[in-house]
Amino acid sequence: MSDVAIRLDGLGKAYRIADRNNADPRIRYGSLRDSLAGAFRGLFARGPKPSDELFWALRDISCEVKHGEIIGIIGRNGAGKSTLLKVVSRITEPTEGRGEVHGRIGSLLEVGTGFHPELTGRENILLNGTILGMKRAEIMRKFDEIVAFAEIGQFLDTPVKRYSSGMFMRLAFAVAVHLEPEILVVDEVLAVGDAEFQRKCLNKLQEIGGHGRTILLVSHNMAAIRAICQRGIVLDHGRIVAEGKVHTVADQYLAGALGTDNLDQAIETENFIVNNISIRSLDGPVIKTFDPVEILVDVTAKTDVQDPGLRAGILAADHHRVAGMDSKDFKTYAALRPGERSIMGFHIDRFPFLPGTWHLDIQVCDVAEFEYEPAGQPVRFDVVETPIYGGRQIQNLHGYVGLSARAI
């Protein structure tokens, strides 16, 4: 057997866009009346039948995945990620091109597929396990492990319709991660349960990957992707737009997905024209927690400025001020004549703020006159997701700043 687990060659998947009424090609289905009407039209109409408009969910997808690789698939909603997983796991057939899969494949496209609400937890483990492709003996062998993983203990013999949604998800996920296919295909199912459970899931996936199994993972949780995967593939409008090391690719994708940090036009204050405000990482195209970061403000003096100065504030998404700096605490800038241009700024060694949306509030001043002039509205910027806390998604409980911490 070669070391290639999955080989895709010019793969494409087209859906017919509804000709008349239905907007979504995926939910459209013919009624007999439509077909009959169509047949009649075909019978009587001369000339070629108007071809249906096609929507290419995937196009020209070519790539190779080796055994033991863990690949993250990144992309916006509707970029074709799920469709790709469906084609790879043979649920749907490609319209063009071909895909080869070497090895037993298990797909986890949805948590709880095939769960029946009337059946008990125990029964659903058996049922779901077989649906996902486990042998009966295999399930029995792992049964206790699954139950322990799901933390449902005493509710094992309760119909799952009485479970809390958290319990339901945990059980479903527990069954799924105990699958042992050679190739595992996972679609956006990591965001279940509380912190502890998320950690367990991530660890489990890492462990699976560590055993030399191939994983194809789709997630919007970049932190998880970065933590688990080695290689990343970015899809956009059904095409592969980037492929490579996961961190590089993720940065690239996020940089493209996020808006620009810069001012689109210069702002005039009393003493200055602020040409540009920027905040950027020295480590890549996007800002990540703990990156070295530079804040640069490009100004032109309108008047004689004796002692130019700069204040920068970092505001949280709710505009609560969480940090601030004043240049005069660090240095004295040379005086500026009218029309003279200068760049002032700050260098931050380890940018501490957690992934999310932030605002940069800039004020410029002539320190001699001691008048701070706000340079327009605060500028929005994003800190992108990185696995600060092992790959789980950042929540309110984590507060504003990241800590290089560990449990002891």
Binding site: Y15, Y29, L32, R33, I91, E110, G114, E118, L119, G133
Partner: protein, 247 residues
């Protein structure tokens, strides 16, 4: 997996029903009572010398197995939408599981039939050994029709609304409430084109020991079932690849 799907269907079927498996007995039993009153007593439909209740009940069993299995199979793909669009496995398993799920009910009501036969003092002839064959035939017929309809159902949801009507209509074309001996022997072979005609009549013959085996009619029915089944599997396999997109 087939086993587990059948097991699930059976397990779920009578959950949260007050009477549970009693439904398996009640349905054919009540139909039989109604038939006996209206066809047996009032319309005086001849029953080949067999007490009418047993006569109709023996036919109702395979018929209801067929009707149930066919309906379930036809709606099975639509009912398993989330499975089909999320997991890969041979899709044939779904209608097959649906058909097999009907056998438990059949088993239960079969026991009732035996009680009924004892009550009326009917002893089966040696032909009774062919009963399993007829059960297989009922299942095969239901599967054959179910395959066609389930695949069509994915494509055309019209099918779903046709099924209750089809079942009812088909019942009149099948010798359940009456005997095929009402039909002249010449036409009986044509009558066998309805596969259930041959099957039901054969079932009755095997169990109640009627005078003659429904030979030519049965042969035609078996042939039709085979053709339908092969065609159904072929058609199903051809559409299989598009199920996930269409459903």
């Amino acid at each position: 997996m087939l086993y587990f799907l059948v097991w699930r269907d059976i397990k779920v079927r009578y959950k949260q029903t007050a009477l549970g498996a009693a439904w398996a007995i009640l349905q054919p039993l009540l139909t039989m009572v109604a038939f006996s009153i209206f066809f047996g007593r009032l319309a005086k439909v001849p029953s080949d010398g067999i007490p009418y209740p047993v006569f109709s009940f023996a036919a109702l069993l395979p018929w209801q197995l067929f009707a149930y299995a066919m309906t379930e199979a036809s709606n099975s793909l639509i009912g398993s939408q989330n499975l089909i669009s999320k997991v890969y496995f041979p899709r044939l398993i779904i209608p097959i599981a649906a058909v097999l799920g009907g056998l438990v009910d059949f088993g239960i009501s079969f026991a009732v039939l035996l009680v009924l036969m004892v009550a009326y003092g009917i002893t089966p002839t040696i032909a009774v050994v062919t009963i399993p064959l007829f059960i297989v035939l009922v299942v095969a017929t239901a599967l054959a029709v179910g395959l066609w309809l389930s695949a069509l159902n994915v494509k055309y949801r019209d099918v779903r609304y046709t099924i209750p009507f089809l079942t009812q209509f088909w019942l009149f074309l099948t010798p359940v409430a009456y005997s095929s001996s009402l039909i002249s022997p010449k036409w009986r072979v044509v009558y066998g084109l309805n596969p259930m005609a041959g099957v039901v009549e054969g079932f009755r013959w095997a169990l109640l020991g009627k005078k003659e085996a429904p030979g030519p009619m049965l042969a035609v029915s078996v042939l039709i079932v085979i053709v339908l089944l092969i065609g159904g599997v072929y058609y199903f396999r051809r559409l299989e690849a598009t199920f996930a997109d269409r459903i």
